[in-house]
Amino acid sequence: MHVELAFFIEVLVAGLLSGVMYSLVALGFVLIFKASGVFNFAQGAMVLFAALTFVRILEMGVNFWLAVAIALAVMIVLAIIIERVMLRPLVAQPVIILFMATIGLNYFLEGLAQGIWDSQVHGLDIGIPDVPWMWLLESTNILISLFDVWSAVICGVLVLFLAFFFQKGRIGRALRAVADDNQAAMSVGIPLQLIWAIVWATAGMVALVAGMIWGQRLGVQFSISLIALKALPVLILGGFNSIAGAIIGGLIIGASEKVAEVYLGPIIGGGIESWVAYFIAMLFLIARPQGLFGEKIIERV
């Protein structure tokens, strides 16, 4: 294959795959926004909290799957506590108040995670080797990490599971009802508090998966909570309340960010990936203000 074309494809695919990792974080935002209309700024801190909990339990010599189970249990307990202590008293407040509360939660969780555990960098190996995919390298001369491919697969499975969870069964129906109109849902007897706890627990689970994958990539440390900022353009591009949007948005952002960094970066000075994703997302937004897959905003006067 032509070298330049191969390089382009390599950049593109690497971008797409890293986009999937952004989607993973964006998913947590979407879940909570969909079910409660809360823009959860603390998602990054939840990723940090989950990853730190997991890695420290693992370091105590606990079996891998047991550590996953314990970390999951911790995230569920955390979700219940958040619902009880923070969300319940703030019911029916304007969304900006809830948004600010999650920023407070962000500070709290960052402090808590690093206070209970510590703020060192922890290496994490979840058993997926970060090596080039040899078969692809030999057959087409394109270098892609097997780790990226696996994380994309995990993300895909997770999305399928969540989509199924949201569509089928009693809880799925209740979730969608709450997402649609939480007062109406309450009046037909759906336990709002329980649903919110479930949604936050699910977001905690997604945070754990994201934390594990990003943790192997970057090491588990404070900066892992900042990837939430990377997920925000994905979120506005895909639409706040669309699971599919989070995935497609992630792919678009990941690919265009990498391509821009490689081809545009040298021209206007490096490090542009901190804002280029936001610019792309904004361009999309001007054409479609509710994001690609977001529900159309209907305004009644």
Binding site: F99, M100, G104, L109, G111, I236, Q290, V301
Partner: protein, 354 residues
């Protein structure tokens, strides 16, 4: 008893339109002004003024700016730090490249440049709304941070990307001491507050509030959304820019892009939410709270210093800060200004509430 307006009649339209219609409020205002102009410099140590009061006043200006945009016009912004940064860098470049410009004019021009930038950032606000807009303003935040970190031109070619601000002179008088800086900032605070207070009860202020409450409805009754939203962005970033310039020139005395990161934007947002959205008084209360809280926590932490490792201590500080924010939002979601209003209502009837 003390706070009762009985017997204070409004006998002319002018009196009816006064900013502070109640005599006690006017007295309180004069007392506060005398206090900050005369008493504070006499009593407070240099450390208190430079370390606590100057940042408090600067943050108040920044908070007024954001409150105009978010509290009065309802446009959520996470990019206020960017406006402050633009103000600071504009002021530095104006002052160092055109040394004959009077410093007050430099600050005002810096605010103006920030306002132009604000209008650019705000231009998508007609189509993008709510949290989508909030995330879009983040674009401005990161872009500005990146631009000031990447191009040395903004700091006159300094390789470290951080540079000291030039000396300030007003009519031949050199502003050097802490007290000089304090008075300069105080002047801006008083003028800015008065202007903002008048602005929000003028025609444009009412248009802002109409847009906040329901922009489609406001458009129906003849308010131009584009002009109204952009004017809010302009005024807001003007205040942000002036605050940023003052922050760089009078407080840290250097221009540094790391001083205006995302957490600065969040900090100002905290101030207006805790102080009270849509209230000028709330800006001061919120700024006081946010400036004082870490100081108080720090003082408490000092008591435990040595017994608890410092890393843990800073984490606990984080937790208390976050926890208090949540606590405050639960107890009084409308902010300290609302608390003050309720107190005022009670005071009117005190001591005979029936």
């Amino acid at each position: 008893m003390l706070y009762r307006e009985t017997g204070q009649f409004k006998t002319s339209y002018k009196k009816d339109m006064a900013i502070f219609p109640i005599r006690q409020d006017r007295w309180a205002l004069v007392a506060i002004l005398i206090f900050v102009v005369v008493v504070v410099p006499l009593l407070a140590t240099e450390h208190v003024i430079a370390g606590y009061l100057i940042p408090l006043l600067i943050w108040s200006i920044a908070a007024i700016g954001l409150n105009i945009l978010t509290g009065y016009t309802g446009q959520l912004s996470l990019g206020h730090g960017a406006f402050m940064a633009v103000g600071a860098y504009a002021a530095y470049n104006l002052a160092s490249r055109i040394p004959e410009l009077p410093i007050i004019l430099v600050f005002l021009l810096a605010g103006l440049i920030a306002a132009i930038f604000g209008v650019l950032v705000g231009s998508p606000s007609l189509r993008i709304k709510g949290f989508y807009l909030a995330v879009a303003t983040l674009a401005a935040q990161f872009f500005v941070e990146w631009a000031f970190a990447t191009f040395p031109w903004f700091v006159g070619g300094a390789a470290s990307m951080v540079i000291d601000t030039p000396k300030m002179t007003i009519f031949g008088y050199h502003i050097t001491s802490t007290l000089d800086n304090y008075y300069l900032i105080l002047g801006f605070v008083v003028a800015g507050t008065l202007f903002a207070k008048n602005l929000v009860r003028s025609q444009i202020g009412r248009a802002w509030m109409a847009i906040r409450d329901m922009d489609v409805a406001a458009e129906v009754i003849g308010i131009q959304p584009l002009y109204t939203k952009l004017s809010a962005f302009a005024v807001s970033s003007f205040y942000g820019g002036v605050a940023g310039a003052l922050y760089a020139f009078c407080y840290v005395k250097s221009v540094d892009f790391t001083a205006f990161d995302l957490f600065v934007s969040l900090k100002v947002l905290f101030m207006i939410i805790i102080g009270g959205m849509g209230s000028i008084l709330g800006c001061f209360l919120g700024a006081t709270f946010i400036v004082a809280l870490p100081i108080i926590l720090n003082e408490i932490a000092h008591l435990f210093a040595g017994r608890i490792p410092s890393a843990l201590l800073s984490n606990i500080e984080h937790m208390i800060f976050g926890g208090l924010i949540i606590f405050f939002l639960i107890v009084e979601p409308h902010g300290l200004a609302r608390l003050w209003m309720t107190t005022k209502e009670k005071l009117r009837l005190w001591p005979f509430p029936h």
